[in-house]
Amino acid sequence: MNNKISFPSNYGKRKRRSQNLAFYIFSAFSYFIVLILFIILGFIIYKGIGVISFNFIFGSPENGMTEGGIWPAIVGTFYLMIGSAIFSFPIGIMSGIYMNEYASNGTVVKIIRVMTNNLSGIPSIVFGLFGMALFVKYLDFGDSILAGSLTLGLLSLPLIIRTTEEALKAIPDSFREGSRALGASRLQTIWHVILPMGLPNIMTGLILALGRVSGETAPILFTCAAYFLPHLPGSIFDQCMALPYHLYVLATSGTDMEKQLPMAYGTALVLIVIILIINIIANLLRKYFSNKAKMN
């Protein structure tokens, strides 16, 4: 090392050493977080795998929830996912399209964006309160799948809007201009050019939104979730069980903790597996389409 400038002779060594130390700490922390995730997942899989059986998945809770299965809760969760999707997917996508393709006034867009980000920051329990006040009480849906789905749909809206907007933003303007130059209207351009191109990324966002919906408990506490319901719900005006709420009930209330705990591990495992599958599908989709885009 050239020491003509007034550096101490070991300066280079020292700064390299502090860099190595810092980078070691950073990587250690990073892998520690990976470790935390694996501990949580591993623990629940380890404790829950023994509980999983055909009867556990496809049976109803029996004997004060100490025996039987969780089928009504699984079905309830899927109903809620579908219900919220029916409501939030079209509106969320349309909102994203409006924001990226139509809205031209800077201030309006800014306000809408601030509102959207704000909506995503509102705690889920506040959505629960709101859903209870509006859907359950004011619109008189009662504790029902309908009220729960609408509440969850509102909750997942910002996520859908943002991913749609980002997906559309990534499409170069030349495609829009090309389509318009061929005489297509704005709407035709969106329908035939923009949407098909943005679809993969939008779909990833939609799937992740479903994952979020499937795990939320606080919004359905007062709008839909049933403590115990041995049969499947008959209509959208019925209450239903849901996996996350069922897990909460098993873990915190009830008569026989000893026997309930294995059921809770099993429920947590099923919930985690659903979330894992959703995440894997979203990631595969993203990878598949980005590879495809590279090939073009």
């Binding site: 700064k15 860099q19 810092a22 980078f23 950073f26 990587s27 922390f29 990073s30 977080i33 990976v34 995730l37 949580i40 623990f43 629940i44 349309m94 909102s95 409006y98 924001m99 139509y102 306000i111 809408i112 601030v114 509102m115 959207t116 704000n118 909506l119 920051g121 509102i122 705690p123 329990i125 506040v126 629960g128 309160l129 709101f130 209870m132 006040a133 009480k137 004011y138 509102l154 809206l157 910002p158 209207s185 709407l187 992740l208 994952g211 979020r212 499937s214 795990g215 408990t217 606080a218 007062f222 996350p244 909460y248 873990a251 947590a268 919930l271 985690i272 979330i275 894992l276 995440n279």
Partner: protein, 401 residues
């Protein structure tokens, strides 16, 4: 025809564009609508009155005093500024201690007269009785029944929403509990979150990054109830054993769980802002002979400070609003926290735990909605500030370039 159709679709798109603003306005409306009646409620339970002897100089008591009298924390009227007289607490349930069955009548038809008599005779009495038993010729004095006031709710130090005769709706223990847990959660997760963000954006190879990214996404995707469950069966017993506590459910358990849950928010947002540091600045620093690490902490991190700050603030926002996990691990004791090892209770946990039992439209119900308003206002302010700051920063950056 085609024009009309396109116009309709465009209007639908426009409507959808405004939906989030519309929802926020609805949320504000309905929360305030449901919570609004709180200050119109009387301090004393509806349908009841509190009566004292006519010679008692005290005319007004506030909710806290009433509660303490009936909890027998005050034993003499002079503690409340009255005369030196022992306080005799009287509830309808204890009427058979003062009167025999005959005096009360076979179908309790003389209860009103008996109440009148006991209030008239005992000088230190304070009676909590249904107002239906108070006749025109009542010989005692009824205390003024004030409305619940603003100060009592927002500065009140006690939360006993189901206490009779006078429920306590002090928000202070819940607000401090919430801030306490969130503060320590961020304190725990900040060093980790920042390190991981720096590692991912500056140090890690492309392959390692592609491995870490989905992991953090997955951590973000795990439902809060699963975190709560994990905390309940693993972290809570661990804390109990480590610190030799009577119960492991504590602020510490809540902070740890929240710290894990806030990590993805902190990591993704600060990583994004670190990435936004222009290449030219890094290269300039490296060209001056700085090492990669020196460049990171002298150039990249100061440049991304606004992004990191907003990551921290949003992390706090996430921690403040978290419900299920906190509900399951903090023990839910409504006290003003003094140490991390005690049980405490947060605003969202209170709403989640109590709304199911609060009768709709009652004072308790309205108080819970008022807590919802508080929560909404806190998160709304946090988000709007972050939004404002980041948009200002990007505006300044545009000007500079």
């Amino acid at each position: 025809m085609r024009r009309v159709y396109e116009l309709i679709v465009e209007w639908m798109l426009k409507f959808s564009g405004y939906i989030t603003s519309f929802v926020i306005i609805l949320i504000i409306l309905f929360l305030f609508f449901e919570a609004g009646g709180l200050f119109k409620n009387k301090e004393i339970e509806e349908g009841y009155v509190i009566a004292v002897n006519k010679s008692n100089p005290i005319n007004v008591l506030n909710a806290e005093q009433i509660k303490n009298i009936f909890d027998e924390e005050y034993l003499n009227w002079n503690q409340l500024g009255g005369r030196d007289e022992k306080i005799v607490v009287f509830r309808l349930e204890s009427i058979d201690k003062y009167f025999t069955k005959e005096e009360l009548g076979e179908n309790y038809e003389h209860v009103d007269k008996c109440i009148d008599k006991v209030v008239a005779e005992k000088k230190g009495i304070i009676a909590f009785v249904p107002s239906q038993f108070i006749t025109d010729k009542f010989h005692g004095k009824l205390l003024d029944d004030k409305n619940i006031n603003f100060d009592e709710v927002f500065l009140g130090k006690e939360w006993f929403p189901t206490a009779t005769p006078s429920a306590q709706f002090g928000f202070i223990p819940l607000i401090t509990g919430t801030l306490w847990v969130s503060f320590f959660a961020i304190l725990f997760s900040l060093p980790f979150g920042l390190s991981v963000a720096v590692y991912m954006s500056e140090v890690a190879s492309h392959r390692v990054r592609n491995f870490l990214k989905p992991i953090i996404e997955l951590l973000n995707g795990i439902p809060s109830v699963v975190f709560g469950f994990f905390g309940l069966v693993v972290i809570v017993p661990l804390i109990q054993e480590l610190f030799n506590l009577p119960v492991g459910e504590s602020g510490l358990a809540g902070s740890i769980v929240l710290a894990i849950m806030a990590l993805p928010t902190i990591i993704t947002i600060s990583e994004d802002s670190l990435r936004n540091c222009p290449r030219s600045m890094r290269e300039a620093s490296l060209a001056l002979g700085a090492t990669k690490w020196q460049t990171i902490y002298k150039v990249v991190i100061p440049f991304s400070m606004s992004g990191i700050t907003s990551a921290v603030v949003l992390g706090i926002g996430r921690a403040i609003g978290e419900t299920m996990a906190v509900l399951m691990v903090t023990g839910n004791a409504a006290v003003i926290p003094s140490s991390l090892l005690e049980p405490l209770r947060t605003i969202p946990a209170t709403i989640a735990a109590e709304l199911g039992e609060a009768p709709a439209g009652g004072a308790h119900y309205q108080a819970l909605f008022m807590l919802g308003v508080v929560l909404f206002v806190i998160t709304f302010v946090i988000n709007t500030t972050v939004e404002f700051v980041t948009s200002r920063m990007s505006f300044n950056r545009k000007l500079k370039n």
